[in-house]
């Protein structure tokens, strides 16, 4: 029983950074901007989170620093693509490369240093209920943030007027502009929100998942988050499902490798990717629904003619 609970807990921990980064990117893409810099913003968040936590001794300050770093780093992308109308794909890729390099440089003195870890939530009484206690009331704070964030984004996008406006911009920025909607302002805020989420996801890596600094510790999670958004056809609850399927198969195959199952380890390592794609493709079979949810102006630079 304990083993099952522990496995479930590790799945949640593995899925949380993917979920947060993907939810942030979902908002960005719903506004019609494709930011391929998630990996770079995530790793910058991770190094800032570790550094601030290490220097101040407070993991909470670390977490805030991670969020702020992600947001500031994404601002660079926003200025380039939104104000200067550069190519979003190229700018996003260079943001990732810049983030990976810069974080390594900033983090040289952090390598091998002991980090601080965000304490798990521990509600006396509730957390000690068998099985559910630990799952529901004994996880790290970022887990709860990730679930709340998903629900909040879902509500924001589909139940509020501002969310509708944001989706309309993603559908057609020219039409939105013609109606007097401030396209660029909305997109700036979306990109910064996405950056803050990626930073938070990075902070989770260096303050919860493995409380230390290792170069390239994001290990491609930013790319997985990006893929999740597309395969989930830009719908928040599917992103959640995708992140947890990925997390579950990931943890499952690690255990399988540890047990020495006679399957090549490369095969097992590719399973999470395969499983996530298959499941998300299966649930996105409704073409019409997918079409409705795909931001039609995704990745196109917008220059209002004056």
């Amino acid at each position: 029983m304990d083993i099952t609970v522990n496995i479930l807990l590790t799945i949640a921990t593995a899925a949380t950074p993917l979920l947060i980064a993907a939810i942030g990117e979902l908002v960005v893409e719903r506004s019609g901007v494709l930011n391929l810099g998630v990996e770079g913003m995530m790793i910058m968040g991770a190094v800032a989170g570790f550094g601030a936590g290490y220097l101040t001794g407070s993991p909470w300050i670390g977490l805030l620093a991670a969020i702020a770093m992600g947001a500031v780093f994404s601002l660079l992308f926003a200025v380039m693509t939104l104000s200067l109308a550069t190519n979003q794909v190229a700018t996003g890729l260079s943001l990732t490369l810049l983030g990976l390099g810069l974080s390594g440089m900033i983090g040289t003195s952090f390598v091998g240093q002991p980090g601080v870890r965000l304490p798990n939530l521990d509600i006396p009484g509730l957390s000690s209920i068998p099985v559910v206690g630990k799952l529901l009331f004994g996880q790290d704070p970022v887990f709860y943030i990730s679930i709340a964030l998903t629900a909040a984004v879902m509500w924001f996008l589909f139940k509020t007027r501002t969310g509708l406006t944001l989706r309309s911009i993603g559908d057609s920025h020219a039409s939105a502009h013609a109606l007097g909607i401030k396209v660029i302002r909305y997109r700036y805020l979306s990109v910064i929100f996405g950056g803050a989420c990626a930073g938070l996801a990075g902070g989770h890596l260096s303050l919860v998942y493995t409380p230390q600094w290792v170069e390239n510790m994001s290990a491609g999670r930013g790319w997985i988050a990006l893929a999740l958004v597309v395969f989930a056809s830009w719908r928040p609850w599917r992103v959640l499902a995708g992140a947890y399927i990925f997390g579950a198969v990931w943890i499952g195959q690690l255990h399988a490798q540890a047990f020495g199952i006679p399957v090549p380890s490369q095969m097992l390592s590719s399973l999470p990717y395969l499983a996530t794609v298959v499941v998300l493709v299966l649930i996105s079979r409704n073409k019409r629904l997918t079409m409705m949810n795909t931001p039609a102006s995704l990745g196109q630079p917008f220059v209002p003619d004056r």
Binding site: R167, S168, A176, A178, L179, G180, I181, A296, R306
Partner: protein
């Protein structure tokens, strides 16, 4: 000129100028719009009407000139500022979001925070009271052009503006719908609202407009009272010379001619919950004739066009036959190779790729049929030949453009349409199917396109024209069939057709009625 001219101007424009590069799109425009008048803005494509209107609605910034609103000098810096002043706009190129519902589209342009459901109810009530019925829950992507325009109009009216700018509002309406719209406009005028009405249809300008301002090449060439003018004199002011009337010689012995396009009990299930099923449509188009299909927007014309053109394949290969061969199972390219050509309703994104050059758009639709001319050894494109062909079309159709080989999106709607029609005519197809050939195209260009279609048929081709413009169909067709709710009436020879008969069929009168008149005639 007008009785309430003194000091009662809602909008005054003085010397408004807009320059794009070397082109002066608007050159010192003066315009007065009084309270409670319907003011027509006339001019050919490229005369500067759209640019002027965009400056009034704040989406373009003038280089110089002044705008007075209720006597106060104002700067309209954004569409939001225009809306705040009380200027509403119904766009020609729709500013709708396809992935959203009609109600959501309307909500986006209203600044109050009322819930979507109450906006939907308001929109539904308003749309029915103005005779422009609308289902607020429907997805815009599933709607026809005519239905989309209704959303635009209702959306504008819900903002309760003082000045309403309508850009080509009737081009997709039936005569009855247009009458309803005119009633609406007259009602708005009696409520003291002003309307700036852009149209190419001179008869309706004469009918409802109090004053007119005519633009040509970016300059105001005259103000007039359209009621005192004739359609011909208005056209002369717009174009600068006479517009040639379309000539259609009657055809003899068409009954014995070879049918080149045969539709045999074509049926289709609705592709989406909002689209119309086609119900056993049969039609023959013979060599040498033009058949027109009339109908209110959204009665299955789009679905019918898709089925005939091969964008959607048929189960029964014999349901569409081109030049005597079963074509129902062939793709667009397959049908083109049999000698057919197609011009879809939407120009940008369907008829042409907006961000590609005209020559590239030419290659896209003709790489297979003209493979020998355009594609050389090893699949290399003969760009010289493609360019030469596109220039030939540009010249033949009098396409006006700003660069030798511009992107499709850089052309005005009418000029792009001339190119798209010209691209297909240039092949001398034996079967030509056109959906809305002259939608939003000015009088001169429309006459050119219509004449070209008639000449194609007289040279031995079968031409099928789907249009919501009855004037156009009566001008060019040898017989008119009406599509209503996915059913097609029998074609009525033009000699027996009247606006009234066709209008009744469009409204859903018994198809048998028309058959009966045919037999007794």
């Amino acid at each position: 000129m007008s009785a309430n001219h003194d000091g009662a101007n809602l909008l005054e424009v003085r010397g408004l100028t807009k320059i794009f590069g070397t082109l002066t799109a608007c050159d010192h425009i003066d315009l007065n719009i009084a309270k409670g008048e319907i003011h027509a803005l006339l001019g050919e494509n490229g005369a500067g009407k759209s640019t002027l209107v965009k400056m009034l609605f704040g989406s373009l910034e003038p280089n110089s000139g002044e705008i007075f609103w209720n006597g106060q000098a104002v700067r309209i810096t954004s569409p939001g500022a225009a809306k705040k002043l009380g200027i509403g706009m119904v766009f020609q190129h729709f500013s709708l979001f396809e992935a959203l519902t009609a109600a959501e589209n309307i909500a986006l342009s209203l600044d109050d925070g009322s819930p979507i459901s109450s906006i939907a109810a308001k929109a539904r009530a308003l749309s029915y009271s103005y005779g422009l019925p609308l289902d607020p829950e429907s997805l815009v992507g599933d709607l026809s052009v005519g239905e989309r325009q209704r959303i635009e109009i209702i959306r504008c009216l819900l903002q309760t503006p003082q000045l309403i700018i309508l850009d080509e509002p009737t081009s997709v309406l039936t005569p009855q719908e247009a009458d309803k719209l005119f009633e609406t406009l007259e009602r708005l005028r009696s409520e003291g609202k002003s309307i700036l009405y852009i149209s190419h249809r001179l008869e309706e300008v004469k009918r409802i407009c109090d004053r007119a301002t005519v633009l040509r090449h970016g300059k105001v060439v005259g103000h007039c009272n359209p009621r005192e003018e004739t359609a011909a004199s208005l056209a002369r002011m717009m174009v600068g010379n006479e517009v040639q009337a379309v000539v259609r010689a009657p055809v003899e012995g068409i009954e014995t001619a070879q049918p080149l396009l045969e539709i045999r009990s074509l049926s289709r299930k609705p592709a989406t919950p909002f689209s119309i099923p086609l119900k056993t449509i049969s039609l023959n188009v013979r060599a040498g004739e033009v058949i027109g299909i009339a109908g209110v927007a959204g009665n299955g014309q789009g679905e019918f066009f898709e089925s005939v053109s091969g964008e959607v394949l048929q189960q029964d290969a014999a349901s569409v036959r081109i030049r005597g061969k079963d074509a129902g199972g062939l793709t667009i390219t397959g049908r083109r190779l049999l000698g057919a050509a197609f011009v879809p309703e939407e120009r940008l994104g369907h008829g042409a790729a907006p961000r590609m050059k005209l020559s590239e758009n030419l290659l896209l639709s003709r790489h297979a049929t003209d493979g020998r001319a355009f594609v050389g050894a090893g699949g290399m494109v003969k760009s010289g030949a493609v360019y030469a062909a596109s220039q030939r079309i540009i010249e033949a159709m009098d396409v006006r453009k700003s660069a030798p080989d511009p992107e499709a999106a850089a052309l005005s709607g009418g000029n792009l349409q001339k190119f798209i029609v010209g691209r297909e005519l240039d092949r001398r197809p034996s079967v030509m199917v056109v959906n809305q050939p002259t939608w939003g195209v000015d009088a001169g260009a429309a006459a050119h396109i219509r004449q070209a279609l008639i000449e194609l048929s007289r040279s031995g081709s079968a031409v099928l024209v789907i249009s919501q413009d009855l004037d156009e169909l009566f001008e060019i067709s040898d017989a008119i069939a009406v599509m209503h709710n996915g059913e097609l009436s029998k074609p009525m020879p033009i000699a027996e057709a009247t606006f009234e008969k066709v209008g009744l069929l469009m409204g859903g009168a018994e198809p048998g009625h028309a058959e009966h008149t045919l037999e007794t005639a």
